[in-house]
């Protein structure tokens, strides 16, 4: 299945070890840099945090690509196999956007949610739980 000779393939493997090790070290370096362990002043600069975060994510994705394509030999498989395994993961992009949006929205409404959860449930007309009175409901009186 591999189109390389044994000696070539061996060389690719050890090159892979060096690449993964170096990328990991670079990631850790930048992570510590962004947290202000190497240059103290960077600790309070949000721009640096975002840039470093983005860089680390890109490097991790490269590591993932390298492991799948070289170590798991996806490069040498039929294109259909690669697509059938990799394409479904595209769904995760939406999951990430949706759930992170949900998370940050929750952060902004924590006090409100807490307040509404503490409203006592007694009485017919008092508001119950988290559904507020102005929420649209089906009016069955016709």
């Amino acid at each position: 299945m591999s189109h390389l000779s044994y000696e070539q393939a061996k060389k690719v493997v050890y090159r892979g070890l060096v690449i993964l090790a170096v990328v990991t070290l670079v990631e850790v370096f930048f992570s510590l840099l962004g947290k202000g362990h190497i240059i103290e002043a960077l600790k309070h600069m949000p721009v640096v945090h975002y840039l470093v975060g983005l860089l680390i994510i890109v490097l991790s994705l490269y590591k993932a690509y390298f492991i799948i394509y070289e170590f798991m030999h996806m490069r040498y498989e039929v294109k259909g196999l690669a697509l059938s395994v990799l394409l479904p993961t595209v769904l995760l992009i939406w999951a990430i956007i949706a759930f992170f949006q949900e998370g940050s929205s929750w952060k902004g409404r924590r006090d409100q949610v807490k307040e509404k959860n503490e409203i006592p449930a007694e009485g017919q007309n008092s508001q119950q739980g988290m559904i507020s009175d102005d929420t649209y409901r089906l009016d069955l009186k016709s």
Binding site: L20, L32, I57, F71, M72, G80, G103
Partner: protein, 311 residues
Amino acid sequence: MATTDTVMEHHDVQNGDAWSGGQAPFRASYGKLMMWYFLLSDAFTFAGFLIAYGALRFSSPTWPVPDFVFSTAPFGIHHAPLIFVTIMSFLLIISSVTMVRAVQEGHRENKNGVVFWMLMTILGGAGFLSCQAWEWTNLIGAEHMSVTTNPFGTHTEDGVYLTADGKDSDEVFHAGSSYLMHKAGAGHGDEHAEEGHAAADYSPGDHPGHFVDEKGFIHRKFRVTEGPDAGMVKMEEFGPKAFGALFFFITGFHGFHVFSGVVFLFIIMINAASGLYVKRKNEYEMVEKIGLYWHFVDLVWVFVFLVFYLL
């Protein structure tokens, strides 16, 4: 010599059309194909966990800083942020590389090579598991983190700590800096000699400089020095609860994958050594399949490492 029950049937790829059978889809064997789809489903499980981590982290006003939480290593090393987990990552990367070597020796039908490199892979996996066991022991035993209690908190205001008799000390902190709440009467691994650290009264209840809750956690008091609450005396609170649960659950689930991987690697190594796969004459396909699984475990660690330790 060859008997029918040990020799795998070779698929006759060129024979007949696609619907008459005998053709391997995607020119991959059944086992390998199904391993790929199992790994895809497993990837979704892990993605679900990690996205839940992200969503909860986004939803919390503060979050423990990983380079503060994970800064201890065996042999009494402290304040060494991320060093220990980097070593753990290297162990997994190296064991991934030795696994590729085992698969390559399998393609050459070199039995001794396969067994040797699989053994190296098992050692790497066992080393990783040992490191994780130490990390968990330290977090639970020395730093008192549990699924429901997270003693790693973050300051949201600038302030100054109070001394044991309730006066301002010279320990100043800024918003965003982290603290670890200690437990009265228990060591916490980091035996620094703070002023009055041992001498003060740590019985449960309110004290001038700190509050000790019924579980024995010491909430140090501090005076806020900036912002709308300036001048007020507050005390340290627990960090977001979800952190402990997410950490133990996700790294535990990954560790369980590593453990199962080591078990299966061991079984397949024994089989290889016994000559079972020599008889199958399929270039040690079983080694290739467990190899796919093992690389996947390494792949997941790339992302666990990313979200828990680097970001």
